[in-house]
Symmetry: C2
């Protein structure tokens, strides 16, 4: 008889998560009460935000409780339903957890998806999902790029960063990407069409700042920030007047017990720049319009969002850690079934 394997958070990580912070429990498959239903999860999204949810700190949603499975956006098939709006066999996307089966309460974040329209259901976690929507709204709504402006993207070879750079090119910006290592920098140019790729590895803040300055002597009009720490400090030394900074992620800081912080914040003052925290959920009312435009750009070959699909719920921990090692080569997804 099948069981429900659940990837539990059993201890709050201090610094980088270690295997002992997690456990895999085997439980009975839940049975839906009236109004709820059970989803057989096929894919789980692995995202930097999950690291934040593991801390007991103020955020836009409560921390994951110890002993609970790790919260994740998943896609799967309705396994059993006591809700008239969802039938067994329906494909759905929702905020569930890394587990074989999720009990879904009505009124949650779950919606039906039409997987016949896409080459793989995983597209709903990448191009058609939070990655694509984050790039779309973060850049277009919060930063409002204008033709001829210089856009600087950190974490540029990641799923969000690479999409941001490509959308920046579509909007007529000069796009500079910062990534870790020669191979990622090669991909920025060859695969994603960035104008300039800068490798941050092995460079001091001053050296990286000088390299950015050489590529953008008049400064960056827009910074799309995914990384934080030293990389962000180097970027801050290269702001154009009235620069707009979209703060989308700070992945270099999430695992640091002692954060580096932003030590060049005074540049935001002297350049009258604006920094705005970005959460994709703020834009939910416009998800449909974004999906249509993103799908068009993809079909026209102007936008490419790669996926890095890791196999097996039992590999959830090492798969998750690829986010921080820089090994992932696109949107990181865990295939559960």
């Amino acid at each position: 008889m099948p069981v429900n394997r659940r990837f539990l958070l059993v201890r709050r990580p201090v610094g980088p998560p270690v295997a002992e912070d997690f456990d895999i429990a085997e439980e009975d498959i839940p049975v839906p009460a009236a109004g709820s239903f059970v989803v057989r999860n096929h894919y789980a999204s692995l995202d930097p935000a999950q690291r934040g949810w593991m801390d007991d700190a103020p955020s836009y949603m409560p921390p994951i409780a110890l002993g609970d499975p790790v919260r994740a956006t998943t896609i799967g098939v309705v396994h059993a339903s006591a809700n008239p709006d969802f039938a067994a066999g329906d494909w759905v996307l929702g905020l569930n957890a890394i587990e074989d089966y999720s009990l879904v309460q009505p009124g949650g974040f779950t919606m039906k998806i039409d997987v016949s329209q896409v080459p793989s259901p995983t597209k709903f976690l990448s191009a058609m999902g939070a990655v694509g929507l984050t790039a779309y709204f973060g850049l277009l709504v919060d930063a409002k790029p204008q033709p001829g402006e210089t856009l600087l993207v950190s974490g540029a070879a990641g799923a969000v960063g690479s999409a941001v750079g490509q959308i920046g090119k579509i909007k007529g910006c000069r796009v500079i990407g910062i990534a870790g290592g020669a191979e990622k920098c090669r991909r920025l140019i060859a695969d994603y069409g960035f104008d300039v790729a800068i490798d941050y590895r092995g460079k001091s803040v001053d050296a990286l700042a000088a390299e950015i300055r050489a590529a953008a002597p008049d400064g960056a009009n827009i910074i799309f920030e995914n990384v934080g720490g030293d990389v962000f400090d180097a970027e801050l030394m290269n702001l154009a007047l009235h620069a707009r900074i979209v703060l989308c992620g700070l992945i270099s800081e999430y695992n640091s017990a002692e954060r580096v912080g932003a030590r060049n914040l005074w540049q935001i003052l002297v350049k009258c720049a604006t920094l705005k925290g970005f959460l994709v959920a703020e834009h939910v009312a416009r998800f449909g319009e974004a999906g249509v435009e993103m799908a068009r750009w993809i079909s026209e070959g102007r936008l490419r969002i790669d996926e890095d699909v890791q196999e097996g719920l039992e590999n959830a921990y090492p798969a998750f850690m690829r986010l921080f090692s820089g090994e992932n080569k696109g949107k990181l997804i865990l295939k559960i079934a």
Copy 2:
């Protein structure tokens, strides 16, 4: 025969400025060429921004050149003029330097002022000057306070901070001030009408954050930031959703060779907050309207902007350092003549 004493920057400070970074030269009083004029400076404004101008770093104006007098906003009387728009005896305000006499080129920042309208010419450096205008535009334009919102002000007993808190009260906010020491906290309540005063001294980031949380359990809607470092980190742990942060100064960081930085920047992300760098010069077109409203509030007894006038150009260095020691009790001004 009178000479022109000039307070020169002779070495770039590393960390806190020391007396040896400066020198006082005695030169001949300049003679105006056609179109220019010479001002006998009476008062010089001493501001945290001057510390930034002493560094060789990108900013909104070039660094003070070594060997040049320290740039400052001054008020004084035209001593000799070869410009038809300015006559000997006119009171003027302008961006000059800490020196007895400044040679003013046409097209600069200098304007005539009517000192008969104010109890002391120094008001043009405090209530009617950059201090009042900074508080007015920084709070009202960048943060747009709404009645019932919680406004958190750091450096609250300083010239700008105390004005911001009072304008926040005029606009119906609940105002919490952070200052250093019991006496300043007493003044926040007694002199400036703040609702809550918090002394940051001797407290860890966590302890200070907890004290702010006790005063503002739902978080701050607006932060007016003058300080940076540990104080800012504690404030960042207390953001309301969509909080607006006006970045006006980072005085705790200006003299640090190793800056603390903002280590809790991720809170700006998870609270979808906005941080905006503020320069008063951006609002020059609306200075007149602000002056009228500020003057009305002052005459109604609703706004009080204190001054801390130090005497003598020869005391420029110790007077300037009062900005960083926390000794100053209002807008810091150096009386030159």
